[in-house]
């Protein structure tokens, strides 16, 4: 199965979850997503998602200058973002339960 297609639908909640743990900048978020197992996540997709979540008011952002290189743009979650994360977490649970049930081989139900 093309997991990149699956990823598209859940990237928002995944990014929200990562940022909710701790503030992070673009590639930092990518690295944590990949470390968590979403290895096929596209970097530009993550950056774009961060921008979109920020535009929709779920994230805050601030710039941290760097001595030896370009500045980093950090993202942090806010109250609206946490509410969004909570709602999507519930949605995901119900959806994944439904799909797990649906995909369970017949007679193998517990």
């Amino acid at each position: 199965m093309d997991t990149t297609q699956l990823l598209k639908g859940v990237l928002d909640v995944a990014v929200l979850a990562v940022v909710a743990d701790e503030d992070g900048y673009g590639y930092d978020v990518v690295r944590r997503l990949r470390a968590a197992g979403l290895e096929e996540v596209g970097e530009a997709s993550v950056y774009g998602t961060l921008r979109r979540l920020y535009s929709s008011g779920a994230l805050t952002t601030y710039v941290v200058p760097s001595d030896e290189g370009p500045h980093r743009k950090y993202y942090g979650i806010n109250a609206e973002g946490r509410a969004m994360l909570e709602a999507q977490r519930k949605d995901w649970h119900s959806f994944s339960t439904t799909l797990t049930t649906l995909l369970e081989p017949e007679g193998d139900l517990r």
């Binding site: 673009g26 096929e40 596209g42 997709s45 950056y47 774009g48």
Partner: protein, 410 residues
Amino acid sequence: MNATVLLDHVTAYAAAVRSHLGDLPPEQVDDLTDGLEADLAEALEDPLGPVATGEVPPRTVAGVTGHPQAASLMDLTLRFGPAAEYARELRTAAGIPPAVPGAAPVVGRAARVVARGGRLVGAVRRAARRATEPLRSSPFWQAVAGFVSTLRPVWWMVRGWVVFTLLLGGLMMASVSSATQRFVPEDVLGWVLLVVVVLGSVQAGRSAVRDGEWVRPALAFFNIIALVALPLALSQSRTMLEQRLGSSYPVYVETQVPVQMPPEDGVRVDGQLVSNLFVYDAQGNPLEDVQIFDDRGRQVRTTYDEGWSQWFLPGVDEPWSFAGVQDADGRTRWNVYPMTGAPFSQWDQDGDGKRVLTAGSALRTPPRPFPQAPALVTGTAGTAGGGEGSDAGRTTGGTVTNAALTTGDG
């Protein structure tokens, strides 16, 4: 890996990504790509970073990790994919529709035109970028680009000067000022303005280099204005300086000067040109062959045509031409009155080009206005206001005043 080289590549790649977002408003592009360089650089320096779909693992790319000495030739598209792909992924994830003509979220005709222009510029830039990709990655190009970029401060100063001339040109239209002040300041205020404008231009150039993109659109506007105005300002200032400095450059100015035509020679009565004079003595009898001079001894001539012109006489149908009179020294005199002549048709031209009468014709005196003039009361002193004997003309008893009359031989 050399951090500076890495950053150069990262900056170039980020610029390429931005160029693929050229259809978006500049603020949105900044918003989308702010911090992109840092993310790209860190992604490159992360040797353990898992590889996303379609991306080539960094360790397989020569020059990125394997051969540091070849780092300056590395191709970031092998790591991140084509910049166009990257930009598309970025904007899709950010919820911005892909670049489709007419799909830009703009309102109003002017905004649409601007957006269309932006897309066009973006497309041109993308095409130019694609076409010049092999050239731009060559060491030669790097050297040339490095050299040119060291010359940028010169352009900043020139740009400042052009803006200064434009400013003064505008001010001059509003007020009265000397023309040369447009190019070279002549007073303290002018110098202050020039220094301020040049410093501003240099500062704008420096901040554009340091911060990247945000000042670019405004600067691009000034750059274009300055580029267009530069040749004009240069040529005009050169002319101006030559006029002021070069005494070896005389400036010829054509002006219209009204020229008074010298009055036509001849004798006029009541504004009308006189063709002949008739002289009568004190008793009113007509005189022949009278020489007339003015008070300076100049001959009084009525004609200057040497006998070639036609003169219309009162009461005579055919026009006449007149002849001069030979004096004792053999000169032809034209101040002998009344002049004799003949009708125009009786004149001809001899082999020497001289005016001659046709055979059978003879010179004669034209008809007099009247055979007899009124007689004068003479011999009484002071009759006409002048002192006795004081006026040469009057002592001879002629009727022409203000001219010396001498009766001729005949």
